[in-house]
Amino acid sequence: MKKKANNYDHINGWGIDANPLDVPTYPMKHRTENDNKGMIWERPAQQAQLVEILHSNERPSVSAVFGSANPPTGLSGKLRRFAFKYSESTWTHWLVLLLADRINMMEGIGQDLKSGRLPDLFTEHGGHSELKYNKAGLIKKIAVGFAFATLVIVFNKIRSREN
């Protein structure tokens, strides 16, 4: 659908990057002589592997560089090692990693408590900005939470009386 109007003087740079080749898949693939030859390039120097680095089973080894932060540990680490036995094409790989992330969150709280740090959940959830910019929303969230907690307590009391 072409626009009929053709005066775009008010737009600084209109059409300046219009594709000179007028092809629908611009930018074209920049082919080189090394296409279709596999991993034949001269690899960069290999970063020393000083911590456990998991790698996709869709590649033969780790890449030349990698991040070394937060190597797998604990139960979440065991799950991550399990996940990496499966290819990136499987749900098992990704869903187990997501499960490991949630367990890792609990491990993080455990680590904080172990090191004598009580997590400041209000601040970490951005509570100060909520208080500043969305006081009504915060009050609503607290009220809903309070109502839900009350319902659970009342339900439990009724159930224990019935037993």
Binding site: K3, K37, V65, G126
Partner: protein
């Protein structure tokens, strides 16, 4: 050092005891960060949607800074250089880098072959710590980092690390021809830049679709385009068909990704239950709104599993789908020129400047769309002196 520290979905904190990064490879540099942004895609991490996001990770793939230390093999940078660092970590040697596909490097991410290394974007993107910190390790320092031109405002420079190239590449991949009608889904920072860039490629008409009024108002003025709230359109696809003489748009751009609003089924299965890799509402609309033989360009971020989209319509309409992580290094020379010539004004999208110490509030403001937030940037203490 001071650094953002991820503790779980919707929970981050400013950690003062993060160990300083070290040179781990002869091609590394250590950069003292002077500005970093929170990207819309950081919110997918913040919301716990990206697999293998480990506790203790520092996010941040949009940053600039000063080179503090370099590895033995680094030749193109020296200590004291002001650099902007593309979000892609690229070796410059593999066959993909050779083809200027710097977002698809094969030597920067051991954990996944489907994506190259990205700073601070989970172990699925290489396990690198990011730039929402005082210091950051930058691998392949001779390849990605670019010295900031002396006449360039550093607020402009930091937005050239991702948001401007991503928006520009979205328009470029659309193969826009003069006079084309372009529809951009999403009025976030990338959508804003995609709309702005569409004109540079000669678009005849540019429309942006979103549901946040303040963002629609912003993009209408900034990108001189039409802006529509899908909440007030009964059906955005039908609206686009009607307004294009029942043909459809020539090019549709998905600048939203996996946390799109607008469709209950997508929201529940994608964002709440995570039964698919996020909510693909914007992509669904893009496929159905584009004309037969048209082009859908995707820069919105999705997870690695799968999404519900009308692939049958892609076949039946003969649509071309083009997508990629932006190849920042390839695009930088042209984009620096556009900024210098005043064709793109990146810093105009910055709405919030927040001390790094208040990173938890910054994430919440951006995530909850409080205080009309469009783009927040984080300033470390050393850059505020």
């Amino acid at each position: 050092m001071l650094a953002m520290n991820y503790r779980g979905p919707y929970r981050v904190r400013a950690d003062r005891n993060k160990p300083m990064p070290k040179i781990e490879h002869s091609g590394d540099a250590i950069v003292r960060v002077t500005r970093s942004c929170i990207c819309g895609s950081d919110l997918h991490l913040y919301h716990g949607m990206v697999p293998d996001t480990r506790i203790g990770t520092t996010f941040g793939h949009e940053f600039i800074g000063v080179v503090e230390e370099i590895g033995d093999a680094v030749r193109n940078l020296k200590v004291g250089d002001n650099v902007l660092v593309p979000f892609n970590i690229a070796c410059g040697k593999c066959v993909f880098c050779e083809q200027q596909l710097y977002g698809n490097c094969h030597e920067s991410n051991p954990q996944a072959t489907a994506v190259g290394g990205i700073f601070g974007y989970s172990h699925t993107a290489g396990g690198f710590d990011g730039g929402q910190a005082e210091y950051v390790r930058v691998p392949y320092a001779d390849i990605g980092p670019t010295i900031i031109p002396e006449d360039m405002d550093h607020d402009d420079a930091v937005l050239l690390t991702d948001v401007v190239p991503t928006g520009y590449q979205a328009a470029e991949m659309g193969g826009i021809k003069p006079g084309d009608t372009v529809v951009v889904f999403g009025a976030g920072p990338v959508g804003v830049m995609a709309a702005k860039s569409a004109w540079l490629f000669g678009a005849g008409r540019v429309m942006v679709i979103d549901h946040l009024e303040y963002r629609l108002e912003f993009v209408k003025n900034y990108a001189q385009c039409e802006a529509y709230n899908f909440r007030s359109l009964e059906d955005p696809v039908l609206f686009i068909k009607k307004t294009t003489d029942w043909i459809g748009a020539d090019v549709c751009i998905d600048a939203v990704g996996c946390e799109a609003a607008g469709d209950a089924l997508q929201t529940i299965t994608g964002r709440k239950l995570m039964l698919q890799a996020g909510s693909a509402t914007a992509l669904h609309w893009a496929i159905n709104s584009v004309k037969k033989g048209g082009i859908v360009s995707i820069v919105g971020v999705y997870g690695p599993t799968g999404n519900l989209i009308p692939i049958g319509n892609v076949v039946n309409k003969g649509i071309t789908i083009r997508a990629n992580q932006a190849s920042v290094k390839r695009l930088l020379p042209r984009l620096i020129e556009h900024v210098r010539e005043g064709r793109i004004d990146p810093k105009a999208i910055i709405t919030h400047r927040i001390p790094l110490e208040e990173v938890a509030d910054a994430y919440h403001i951006f995530s909850a769309k409080l205080d009309n937030c469009i783009k927040p940037i984080l300033i470390p203490p050393s850059a505020r002196k």
